[in-house]
Symmetry: D2
Subunit: 365 residues, 4 copies
């Protein structure tokens, strides 16, 4: 097909970074979603949410509607749960995630939760996807149990047809002959996904493995595979959970998981927003950003010899006051778009440009 797909890098080169409340997802920004499988009642949901937020989660999951294999299993609290989710989102000022299964529920759900989730069983429920394309909330699109990458990205395209670019892919394991884990977590495709699409991709180790004991190493592997986030089932008392108990962590286990993954997050230079960090964590994240700034400065300076050569051959003077002024104005405008102080940006680039001009003079000799 010659049509350029909206999910593709041909359509948008840079990583999509999604902002929801004070949390960012994509690029350098890593998401840690946690919470119960289902919202069972107000206390259970609030208690779990407060605890996982304290441990380091920056998104809260919890379903009002549950897709269940058997019609006789607990199907979720429905509208009652939506109200609880909305209240929590407002009280804790943390973004909430909830699943939607029926096109008729899309609008109401989008008014109660921040991020909507499409489950694996609904990845090709095209009528649901078309309805979701009409709203603007970020959407998590789980991979179908036997969906190819091609099919998955096409389903993302359904969500984007009316302009919403805030789509988050979620790998949650595929069906294979190996049944010792509930599904087979397919991490090798993450770098392939990144080549093809600008959309962020997160990993769900709870549904992938179906086994509490396998979640920590799966999370570490997911981070090391360059994913953009995790979504983990946590229940204050997994023994009595109304669904997915065996794969849910309790609150202490979740806290320990966060400790285990932090060093890998540091290695991968990921930044976690919207959560309370301690001073040394904040300093580390700052220094990660600083190092990247310095790296880019070095890249900029490395272009000096090419500049010299070009200007010499084309007999262009090193100092071009008009050009420099033009650049500074342009960056001041850009700064405003990013809500940065334009004066600061102008001062910094004045220094950079001056340095680069001096280098050209020195090396030209």
């Amino acid at each position: 097909m010659s049509k350029i797909m909206r999910y593709s890098r041909d359509y948008k080169k840079k990583d999509t970074i999604i902002t929801v409340k004070n949390v960012k997802i994509g690029g350098k920004f890593f998401a840690i979603a946690a919470g119960p499988c289902a919202v069972e009642n107000r206390d259970q949901y609030f208690e779990t949410a407060i605890a996982v937020k304290k441990s380091g989660a920056n998104l809260i999951r919890g379903s009002a509607y549950k897709p269940r294999t058997s019609p006789y299993s607990f199907q979720g609290l429905g509208q009652e749960a939506l109200t609880i989710i909305r209240d929590l989102g407002e009280e804790l000022k943390i973004p909430t995630i909830t699943e939607v299964m029926d096109p008729r529920d899309v609008k109401t759900t989008s008014q109660h939760a921040d991020i909507l989730q499409v489950g694996a069983r609904n990845m090709q429920n095209f009528e649901l996807l078309k309805e979701l394309a009409k709203i603007n909330n970020p959407i998590i699109l789980k991979r179908g149990m036997s969906a190819t990458i091609e099919e998955w990205l096409n389903s993302a395209e359904y969500l984007m047809t009316e302009g919403n670019e805030n789509i988050i892919l979620c790998e949650r394991g595929i069906r294979t002959f190996e049944t010792i884990t509930r599904n087979t977590l397919d991490l090798s495709i993450i770098p392939l996904i990144k080549m093809r699409t600008h959309l962020p991709i997160i990993v769900d180790p709870s549904h992938a493995t179906g086994n509490r004991e396998l979640i920590t190493p799966a999370c570490k592997a997911a981070i090391a595979s360059n994913s953009d986030g995790l979504i983990i089932e946590v229940h204050q008392n997994p023994e009595v959970a109304m669904s997915d108990g065996p794969q849910s962590l309790d609150i202490a286990q979740f806290s320990e998981l966060i400790n285990q993954i932090k060093p890998i997050l540091e290695v991968e230079r990921k930044i976690i927003t919207g959560t309370t960090l301690n001073l040394s964590e904040i300093r580390h994240q700052i220094s990660c950003v600083d190092e990247d700034i310095i790296d880019l400065l070095a890249t900029r300076m490395s272009l000096v010899p090419s500049l010299i050569e070009f200007k010499r051959e084309n007999q262009i003077p090193i100092y071009q006051p008009e050009r420099e002024k033009e650049i500074l104005t342009k960056y001041a405008n850009l700064a405003q778009k990013y809500t940065l102080n334009p004066a600061l940006v102008q001062k910094i680039f004045d220094l950079i440009i001056t340095e680069m001009r001096e280098l050209q003079k020195k090396e030209r000799v």
Copy 2:
């Protein structure tokens, strides 16, 4: 779970036989559904339907709504197609099948087509299933691409929760590592399905193989595996079909397919209703039924020695006029339920009972 599932043999021992217009599906009754992937316009649908009916199809398929991997592919004519389908069903007096994908379309669709179909991608679209549970039309439930038997039957249960027993399962191939066929047709599970459920199961070789050349042997194998029907994509001109062209048969190929499968249908003693048969086919089907009647008579007579022994040990006389009368009355009532002439049934059983009584006297000596 201790709950008895409605799909199970524990709930209902005998095969479900579905009647729609003058066609029966299940038990001895074999269904041959054919028609285009999508209703593209009135002429194309009518032309194909008339031709496949003439060749031997007793159900007409054709979609108004199409689940398409890409949002930019042809999505079906929608309501316009439903009207065409309703008109054809009325004019040709043949049952029609059409897919439904959105819970909001269920009611209207059920008023325009005879049989509704749930596609593989929607097998676990539980909100759709719940909506379908409210109508009474027969429903074809396709197996999901990587659905286990357990999950499939649970989805059938969703459809049956409000009392509709007219559910038809449809095997359409599963996803495996082997991609030389589009899917892998899983015929060995048919006898397992039959052990677990009273519901009929049909086979879709078009989507299973994705390749016109493989359809005839797959159909023959499906019949030999004891399935209850076939659903086949036929287009009057596959080259210009708006979807699924490569796997569609043209009309001559469908006619040839029917010729190829007829001998296997005869071996399996299947009866096709609602279609024009030639005299020798009708005679064959009659003789199949007759042979089964004779077989049951022999089974009945083989019980004579046990009867003799029991009555002797318990000193019960061979002739029991009260018991005989009771049986005849009971069968006369049963006859009425089946809309058979009660007098005929009474006469036949009077003959049988008399014969059996005489045999007891003779052998007792």
Copy 3:
């Protein structure tokens, strides 16, 4: 690769028909191999073999070497079993099949059994295949548990590199997510295999399903899918079998299976050689061949109008005595190759040619 593969239809257009003792496999000739998983002792093997031969098997299976998942399971009797197999083959004059796993055992095994089998686990044991390429016995090559068609045919090519064309492919189920059957029998690929290769392909329903109850419908489906044979595990007492008990039929069940598949074999016009048939079965097989002869005669006669037109346009006389004589001589030679009476063949073709000449005269007018 531009090399023409020996397995391909490009290398050899007509179906390979393998002859071993008085049994033929391939083309119209259908093989029914039966016998125990392993040769456990002389009595068990002889007893089972005699019984299945009487029921209609024309090949006897039974392993001397068993590939077992655990090193602590029964590994087969080895050389002792080979001697028993050789004795049975001589006494019953029936071809025997046995598995070989070690390149060092190939030569000895080839001297004790008629047909050697490569198991699914050894399909890509290339050193074994290379050793097998040196012998001339027919070889059954089972498909690996997750082997593609391409890989399977390449392994067949290994066996054929030194000229042996007597290779029999055997589909035995593939590994998929569905574990309710031990493997998923992949019958749709049989017509694809037939398009690509001249080699016969048989089906093993015992290993494919791992469940005695599923074997009969799987056998019927295999025949209807145009396979060339079956290989079935039978034990005189499955309860005490040293391996594969749950999937083995007992002797009565095997006999019943043969009754069930015979009508499908008749529909598919398959001929079973090397086994005692009753008069009506023989007559049926004769009439199948006769009908095919008549069909070919009709095809020949249908060419008359083209002949007339061609000869008229090119002004060639209808009667061409030189050409007729040449044909008759050629066919007499061909007859000798097939060990047919050349005089008979000449007489038949003299009649045919005369008829065709007369038809040309009549229609030309």
Copy 4:
């Protein structure tokens, strides 16, 4: 089965640590094997080996015998390559890995290479496994393309039946419906493997992904999943490689890979032996070990309250000179087994015991 399997944690509780030349594999010790798919000639193999060793590999891979899908592809240099491998192993003092496919080649191969490898296609080539059980070299056992964990561990058991415990498992991807990567790397099973067996497990990202671009993230994920090593295909000129070119790294890419994985190895506190490290790397590894020693000391001291309580209740004196002497003697013996200086060990434990005794006195008060 009630038999205790040699691979199981019931048989041996602690991680097996394999020592070959000056390299250790298992427990804290991480292996990095690299080298060409096949030994094509002396120069190519030596050049690649020297380069990867310099970059940080501590094992050299390279095949003399190649399992190839087609009989017409390059099959390896055979004995000529074995000689080259032996020479390299001696000259570079680095352990070498090579594949063996034929039971007849096991003995010779074991005399030329340090570690023997069983390929995925031969995982259930039981005759090969039985022959390998007779030698003492470490053996890498790759997982079959569709092998369950159970089958894989049973094949490891075959290798261990005669006492060899130096078995290394190797995950190399499984066959699934997803063909965008050549296989699906199944990392979630690594923690499960670790629960069941004491054997080390390494990961082959080259065969798993079949794609050079995916190797680095797969390696990082493998380390984060707690694997014990990597085996990577490297060729000095992948463009002209006689096999597996598209998945081979060139030397610069391998060197960059090592840089990428080092931070994750540090987080996971892995130690790489037999390779030249720079001072800061050595210091880091030393400090990892030191921290673990300190951690164990703290664990030992934390037992003081229990000791006090027990001794008080049972009226045992805190100071038990006989017991202390006994312990010191026992540890001196153990030290000798590990080739440690017994005096050093005695001195250390004298300090520890004294400290613990003092603590008991202090806390008792």
